[in-house]
Amino acid sequence: MNFRKLTSAAFAISAFCMLSSYASAQETVNATSDNKRIDAAWEDLLETEGNLLSNAQFVTLTNLAYQAASARVCDNYALDKDKIGKELDKILTAGNPQLTSDQNDERIAAILISFGARYGLFIAEGHADKEDFCANGDKFEASHSTPAPKQK
């Protein structure tokens, strides 16, 4: 498995999630009065992930995907590629050294798929109420694990 396949797979799944989720995002949001999370779509994704990463790593991965989606959906944000690339690299390189090359490739593919799926789901959620979604990004504070979105 080469890196082109890995990134292609991640992007393909991301695109799939965007297409499949976006169509139902609005009605799902309307059905969920507490917030704008696309509950059913998230549950379908999460049931396959298990303990692939630690809690802290999952939070970082999700935050990175959220920032990437904010930069994609909102006009007022740009992607800080260097910072996000470094954070993503930390997760990708944190694998068990006992893994074979092929097993490590599978692990990396799974992480990239998880990242891409999160990216797609956040984009779908964002388009349900773009103005609110983009205003939400203004409240973002830099955490210990992830850089804040970079305003244009």
Partner: protein, 104 residues
């Protein structure tokens, strides 16, 4: 897999996110690549199941993650353990509460 190669992967992915997919990239979307990604997800599912876990491959098992039901740590925040994420009531994803609740 060396760090340089991983850095290339990470940067390539970020580049994809920063720009629309080019037709050249779209050209490489194949069933094999997608299937490889789906198979990769089985790693996560397998790790979640201690009974079928290959300890030689994955190392000493972590405690199996049993996601709890959603809960509210603050009056206007709802957290989802399975996602390790929190959302604002009536709104969107809350990175800060997600970090505070699940990453510490």
């Amino acid at each position: 897999m060396g760090r340089i190669r991983l850095a290339v992967i990470a940067c390539s992915l970020i580049s994809i996110l920063g720009t629309h997919a080019s037709s050249a990239y779209a050209h490489h979307f194949g069933g094999g690549a997608i299937a490889a990604g789906i198979i990769g997800l089985a790693v996560g599912a397998a790790v979640d199941d201690a009974v079928h876990r290959d300890e030689y491959v994955y190392g000493p098992p972590r405690p199996v993650y049993r996601a709890g039901t959603p809960f509210s740590p603050h009056f206007n925040v709802m957290c989802y353990p399975a996602q390790r994420a929190c959302y604002n009531n009536g709104g969107y994803y809350n990175p800060n509460w997600s970090y505070r609740v699940f990453a510490n």
